[in-house]
Symmetry: C2
Subunit: 348 residues, 2 copies
DNA sequence: TTGAAAGCGCTAACAG
DNA sequence: CTGTTAGCGCTTTCAA
């Protein structure tokens, strides 16, 4: 039998009556606010636990905070995002804040819908991970609610940002491959045309870092980019394209681990071996890259740290909305595994 | 410069004034409720879009619905859950409901915290994916808010449930391996002692299905189970244990894809090849299993369908809270890839 | 069909 | 330090 709806929820009024104090007192205890004697706190706490009272976030949201942080991320299948989330939840673990995330925010339209939904629900702060929305849109959102943007370059006066140095990361990859004697190093990038995003999105920065590093090594003529997307399919198609060149590359730098996986599929289909015939390096050092059967050389971004920084910043901004914005920039490292090695004589 | 907080949000009162009607009328239009003429609807809709009004979910939650469905799932790294989520969002795409999920709910304590958080936020319905909480707890939650439990066997009068036939899935695996001539087929299970969970959790059902199928093939004496956990590490340790047997198995049935990955690592470390020396089969057919370098034979559960069913049920229960509970049970299929084959003479 | 008015549970002025 | 009271933005009786 399903009950029609249990006994009415315990409210702050019930607690106040039970503790023989005013609702204000209860409210103050709830928020650890100033102006409540230890004795009063004690009494109220006891009443709260005796009645099993839990404050309604909806009601709180109408006046004050909801103690909710919204996290928007492009997709759940990218395991790197899970690291960021771990960092966020770890940082917020001891606080009263609850993290909620919205799935399926790929594309500008879906992002708008999600950001609106979070604002409608009176969330106290937003952490936007690798958003593709226009800067104008992000700025508008940040003016409405404390916001931290993760994984997008360029300082904003409206929101804090946490990024990894993608130019340096791409440089690490090229350096590593050149050290092993590679010269024909190709890159698979996420296609980008919008000028703002060309400057701000990590994918564009990685492509730029690749170009810079190639030139720094005197390999400007060898620059070869397949422009697809940061998906498994994009990696597959990009690698197909690169393998069809008259002189195929001896190494491919994929802009993301998932792209590297697609590329590995294409390479296997072409009957080539990794790293015998061709080396491949990814980006993100997601859990995937570490899996034994994959063992992908990749750039590590310390997603946990990025998440922790983002959480710290958003809480700080909730407390002080008009402090100047901060830009946190972390340094990547290269994790060498089995997919990269010196080119063989034949391929060379 | 960060603005102190933009101009006050547009409220239902502003809309009513602008459209020259009552707030009641606006509320009715918002909810598509009975009792508003087409002309009135028209006027109100226009005012809403002119002012860019968006209803506050916090305020709505105080009286009516919040149009929010909460999804709780054990972890983000299991890609199978992403499929379920896709099904949920696809099903809810056309409706007014917004899906929000809470990360990091591993363990009974974390689950309790998350379920409470969702109830505190007046969510209209909950979808709990593979929860480990006690049945009593789940029942209590379901009495408070419409709830659908996914991936847990056993009917409840309090909540609807969506499961996949795990006994049948395990049977498919054993059948497949036996057909290829395997006899020493081992299993890595998620350790379970709680009697209720032994009957309800998918992991226990899979182990049971494995035992049943082995006996059905007259291989009762060959039953060999390593009891660890459904994690990559659990797979690694489980495989190590199985490989150390005097007579090592020729095939391992891992209870989940992630477990299979850990096992593959242990197998590679032992200098054995897959499927030459040992076949391995996973469960979930997650995106991971399909990756070229992994190419894992696995049981497919159609997570999208499970998610869609769960979403449909929760919406239906929001509309009709005291209808009898439903149990949806889907049938799994086996996807054969490169990690399973006939045992070689030597190993046999 | 429409609107006035009374809350939902909580917070924040303000008074005592 | 404590309590009274007026809303927050919406939904929902209940009259008109």
């Amino acid at each position: 039998m399903v009950e029609k709806a249990g006994p009415r929820r315990v409210t702050i009024v019930d607690v106040a009556r039970h503790a023989q104090v005013s609702t204000t007192a209860v409210s103050k205890v709830l928020r650890n606010a100033y102006g409540a004697s230890p004795a009063m706190r004690e009494k109220v706490q006891q009443a709260i636990s005796e009645l099993g009272f839990r404050p309604s976030a909806a009601a709180r949201g109408l006046r004050g905070q909801t103690y909710t942080i919204g996290v928007m991320l492009p997709e759940l299948r990218n395991l790197f995002f899970a690291d960021i989330l771990d960092g966020i939840t770890a940082q917020l673990g001891g606080t009263d804040y609850q993290v909620l995330l919205a799935p399926g925010c790929n594309g500008e339209k879906a992002e708008a819908r999600v950001m609106d939904a979070m604002i409608d629900r009176s969330m106290d702060g937003l952490i936007l991970i690798a958003p593709v929305s226009s800067k104008k849109r992000l700025t508008a959102v940040a003016h409405t609610v404390p916001t931290v943007v993760v994984g997008r370059h360029g300082a904003s006066p409206a929101y804090d940002s946490v990024t990894d140095d993608d130019v340096a990361g791409a440089g690490l990859v090229v350096d590593h491959l050149v050290e092993h004697g590679h010269r024909r190093i190709a890159h698979i990038e996420h296609h980008e045309t919008d000028p703002v995003r060309l400057a701000e999105m990590p994918n564009a920065q990685r492509a730029q870092g690749y170009r810079d590093a190639m030139r720094a090594h005197g390999l400007g003529d060898e620059i070869d980019i397949a422009s697809t997307s940061y998906t498994q399919e994009g990696g597959y198609l990009g690698a197909k394209e690169l393998l069809a060149r008259p002189q195929r590359p001896t190494a491919i730098f994929a802009g993301a681990d998932i792209v590297a996986l697609g590329a590995m599929e294409a390479i296997a289909q072409a009957g080539l071996t990794i790293p015998g015939d061709i080396s491949i390096v990814g980006y993100d050092n997601s859990a995937l890259a570490a899996f034994a059967p994959v063992s992908l050389t990749s750039v590590d971004q310390d997603g946990r740290q990025m998440g922790a920084d983002a959480a710290r910043l958003v809480v700080s901004r909730i407390g002080e909305r008009d402090r100047r914005t901060a830009q946190v920039k972390l340094s990547p490292t290269l994790v060498v595994r089995r997919t990269s090695a010196a080119p063989t004589g034949a391929a060379r």
